[in-house]
Structures are given as C-alpha cells and as structure tokens.
Amino acid sequence: MDQDLKTELSKHGIFATTFEELYNWGRKNSVWPLTFGLACCAIEMIATTMARYDLARFGAEVFRPSPRQADLMIVSGTVTKKMAPQVVRLYNQMPEPKYVIAMGACAISGGPFRDGYNVLKGIDRYIPVDVHIPGCPPRPEALIHAFMALQDKISAQHLTGESRPRHLKAELPSEFPVPDFGEHGLEPAQNDEIFHNPLKVLQG
C-alpha cells in the first residue's frame, strides 16, 4: 500500500488502511503488562503508571496480576538464581502473543550485582527479550520510550510471509525449559538455543 496514495486519499477525508495495520494498531495500543516487580526498577515502574508520567496514554496502565491475562512481562529488577525458575515459568504461562521488556541493568546483564553468587547475569539467558532499557533504575521516561519501541516493533509485524512474528509460527516454541536448582547454581546455567553469549561470539 504506497504511502503517497494514502496521504492523497486522506486529504479528501478518505481513510484507507490494510488489514494488517488495523490488526497491529489494535494490539499495540492495548498491551497489558503483568504486575511483576522485582526490585528498585519496580518502584520506577509504579511511578510511571502514576499520575505524573501516566502510562495510560499508551494503553498499558492495566496491570494484570495473573499471567493468563497479561501479554507483556516487564522484568523490572535483579533476577536472582532463586527467582529465575519462577520468572521462566510465569513467562511460559502467559498466552501468545507475549513480549518481554528487560528493565534496568540488572535484568539485562546482572547490573551492579553482576558478581554476586546468587545473581543471574541477565534474563535473556532463559527467555527471549524484546526491548532492553538500560539504567539503574531507568527513569520513567525511559520506560515510556521502551513502550514506544515495543509499539513500533508490533506495528512492523506482518501477518503472513516468512517474517511473521514468533506467535504466528507454529514451529517456534511458546515455552522454554525451566531451570532447576542445582548444588552450586542453576542447571542448566543458560538456555543455549536462545542465548548466544556476545563476548564468546566475539572471541570466536
């Protein structure tokens, strides 16, 4: 659908859209997050939903406590090794299509607590992450920017063809193996299908 035809028509008050755009427009403006606060970033997430920063402008102020009714998991805070199996199980229990925002340095890579013995070095070891927000804690504006980035990502999705999103492809898994508690750490230490350690990749 070429853009200038569309703008031309809209000058005359005719609104033309494709079915795909309508579908994505509907989904991106009603992303329901899961009430899932881990640490300090959770307080910034709550501050974002409050009157001053008002996440409701993006249709995301409905925080659903149960994963059955949520389609976005904001991992806000340090994911410890004791909490990692619960995070992955919650992600598995969310219906497709589901997205993950890794909020804060701790969720991305362990952050300031990286060398802790009970700290998971980033949640992308076990579940795929859609948007990363750096910061410790990221400001409410940064979280709103993450929502806008997620909405751009959703509106760029195609319904058919090879570049379909994960939830429309039957062969891609909707569940990821839940790590279990070992003697000294989590077993397995990470999920190798979806986690490619950037530093190891560099070292070849």
Binding site: G110, D115, N118, K121, F181, E183, H184, G185, A189, L199
Partner: protein, 196 residues
Amino acid sequence: MTLEEIKTRLQTGVPGCRVEIVVNGSPSAQNSLLIDRRDGLAAARFLRDDIQLDFCSNATAVDWPDREKTDKVKTRQVVDGVEKEIEQTVKTRIPGYLEMVYHLFSITNREVGNQEPVVLRMRTGNRTDDVTLPSLTPVWRSAEFQEREAYDLFGVEFEGHPDLRRILMWEGFTDHPMRKDYVPPPDDEREISGGQ
C-alpha cells in the same frame, strides 16, 4: 555501667562462666564480651533478665579463616662459638574459627546498653566439623532469622534453634557463600567480567 561491671556481675550471676573482654581498636571503642560457648545460653538469659538487655538488635557471623602470623623473634644462639643475637621470623599458624557477634541494647533500663551496644561474642571450635553454637533464639526472638542467615551463609550450626533452615539460598544449595574461601561455580561470566 561499664563492661567490666557487667563482666563481674556475669561471673557472679552465672557461676563458672568463662568471660573475657576483647578490646576494640577503632575509635568507636565498642569492646566486647567473649563468652565461652558452653555457657553462652545461661549468660544470655542472665544478661536479659538481670541486666535487662532485652533488645538483641543485631546477630551476625564473622568468618576468621586460618591465619599465618609471622613475627620477628630475637633469639640468642651460639653460632660457631660466638653467641649472637639472631632475628628469626617465626610463622605461627592461628587456627581459624567462626564467630557469632550479638549487639545488645536495653529499652526498659536506660543506664546500660543505652547508646552504645553491649557486644557479646561466641566462637566455634574450628571451621570444618566442630561448628556448633548455642542458639540464643529462646532468649531473644529477634535472633531467629539472623541465626538462620548465619547458618545459611556461614555454616554455623545452632542447637536449640526452633526452625534451622536455609533462609536466603534455596534448600538444595550446599555451599556457604559468605565464607572467605568460597569458590563460586565456574559461571563463564565471572572470568569475562573480571570478577574475583
């Protein structure tokens, strides 16, 4: 009421109680009472009831691994007929132990443990097999979670603790991570991030 007074009252109140005062080098001058672990519980009950230290604010463990103390010793020795003074470095190995430190305050009686804590210390035999200490939870319930944390992170066994389980790490975890000689698992991030 100074620490010496408390010590003397403790020795009279709890017969045969082995107490000594450990001097604290820092300007805070918070010296502490080192009590032998065999009569730790009796001393604690006496401190709470008689000296009215009814608020155990902080209970924590400290890990003292084995240490080598090298000190110069001047000895007189006969070296090929001539008596000379030779300086020798003597390496004495001090066996390590785990230590529990309790900071006691008093809420009801303001002239003891009012602004400065009365510090009570107990030491285990060594760091491997003889690591049991009397739990002071029956005396002060505030020590319950803190002693569980000492058990979890340092490996100090407490007899008489109502519910001795790991509090912070998961049940299947076998190490005691806060000890000085804890080696974390070969988590590949550690070498890359240059952790210790």
